[in-house]
Symmetry: C2
Subunit: 200 residues, 2 copies
DNA sequence: GTCTATATCTTGATAGAC
DNA sequence: GTCTATCAAGATATAGAC
C-alpha cells in the first residue's frame, strides 16, 4: 500500500511512522513533537524517518495531514450518510464526537486542528495542506446537506459552519476537560441545519 | 500598574515582555516561540525575562493567557453591550472579527486559541488557565444573552456555541487565508441566537 | 534591576558502517 | 534498507559582573 506494487513482504515501517506522527501531533502539536519521539513511538530506527522522508519533518507533517484528512473524510461520510434526516444525523455525529473526545482522554479528536493553528502563520506548505483538508471535509458535508434539499451555496455555508462549530467545541472541551461544549454545540449545529432546510 | 503602588518612574519592561509574548504566541504558538525571540521583540535584555518571571516560560505563558483573557473579556463586552438586538449584535461582532482577521494578516485573532490547543494535553497549569479564560468569556456572553430574555441555562449554552463557532471559524479562516468562514459563521451564530430567543 | 556570557539539554538533520 | 554516532544550531535556564 506504500507504493504502486506491494508484494506483501514489507513490514511497512513508513506507515508506522505516519501513524505515530499522527498520534503525537494531536497531543503535543507539530513543534512540540520531536523526530526522535516519533521514531521511538513507531518502533523504528531514527535514520529510517529520513530514509522515507528525505524532506524531513515538514514532509512527514504534510503526509500526516493529508492522509489523516482523507481517512476522516471517509469516516464522516460513513457515519452520516446512512441517515436520511440531516438534522438528526448532525446532532448524533456531535454526540459520537463527544464520546471520542473522552475516549481519547481529551487529546484532539481532530488530527489536524492543533497543527493547523500552529502552521497557519509559519509554514506555507503545511498551511496549504490543512486548507485542502478542511476544504475536502466541507465539500463532502455540503454534498450531503445538498442531498437533503438545501441549495448548493447554502449547503456549503452550512457545512462550513457545522465544521467550525465542531472544531471550536473540541477546543473548548479540551481546555475544560469536558464533553459538555461538544454536546451543546451539537444542539446548535442541528439548529443551523434546521434553519438552512427551512430556507434561512 | 505592575504592582500595588506605582510611582510612575518604572519603564515597565515587564509589560512589554507580556505584550511581545502575546503577539508571538498568537503567530508562532507556545512551543514555537523562544524566550530569546520574546526578549528581542520586547526590546528587553534576555535576563530580564527571568527577573520578572522566575518561573520561566510557563509562568510567562500563564500571565499572557490570563491578562489577554481579561482584556478580551472587556473588549467583547464593550463591543456588544450597546446593542439591544442580540441577534444583530452577534452578527455584527463576527463581521468585526472578520475584519480583525485580515488586518492581522491571518494571525490568530484569539490570543489564546493556538496556545490552548498546544497545552491541553501537555501542561496542566496552562490548560487550566485557558479553561478559566474561556469560562469567563462564556459567562460574560451568557449574561448578555440572558439580559435579552433567554433563560439562564439556555443563555449559557448559546454563549458556549457562539464562542465555539467563532474559534472554529478562525481556524478555518486562517487555514484558507480567507474571511469567508468567519462571515458565514456569523450568519449561523445569529441563527443560533434567534432559535434560543424563540425558545428552541 | 540591567545586561552578558555561558552551561546544559534537545532539536532537526547527516554520515557512514553494515 | 537498517541502524548508530554525531553534528551544528536551537532551546531553556543560570551565574555573576555591573
Amino acid at each position: 500500500m506504500s507504493k504502486g506494487k506491494d508484494t506483501g513482504t514489507t513490514p511497512d515501517t513508513k506507515q508506522r511512522i505516519v501513524t505515530a506522527g499522527t498520534e503525537l501531533f494531536r497531543r503535543r502539536g507539530y513543534t512540540g513533537t520531536g523526530m526522535k519521539q516519533i521514531a521511538e513511538a513507531a518502533g523504528a530506527p531514527f535514520g529510517s524517518i529520513y530514509h522515507f522522508f528525505p524532506g524531513g519533518k515538514a514532509q512527514l507533517g504534510e503526509e500526516v495531514i493529508r492522509t489523516s484528512g482523507a481517512v476522516y473524510l471517509g469516516l464522516v461520510a460513513a457515519l452520516m450518510e446512512p441517515y436520511e434526516d440531516r438534522v438528526a444525523a448532525t446532532g448524533d455525529a456531535f454526540a459520537a464526537a463527544a464520546d471520542t473526545l473522552s475516549e481519547l482522554d481529551f487529546a484532539d479528536p481532530c488530527p489536524i486542528a492543533t497543527v493547523a493553528m500552529e502552521v497557519a502563520s509559519t509554514n506555507e506548505t503545511l498551511r496549504q495542506a490543512t486548507s485542502d483538508v478542511f476544504d475536502s471535509w466541507i465539500d463532502g458535508l455540503a454534498a450531503y446537506y445538498a442531498g437533503g434539499g438545501i441549495p448548493q451555496t447554502a449547503a456549503r455555508e452550512t457545512a462550513s459552519s457545522v465544521i467550525a462549530l465542531l472544531e471550536g467545541a473540541f477546543m473548548l472541551g479540551r481546555a475544560a476537560r469536558s464533553t459538555a461544549p461538544v454536546l451543546t454545540a451539537g444542539k446548535a449545529a442541528a439548529a443551523v441545519v434546521r434553519a438552512a432546510l427551512a430556507g434561512e
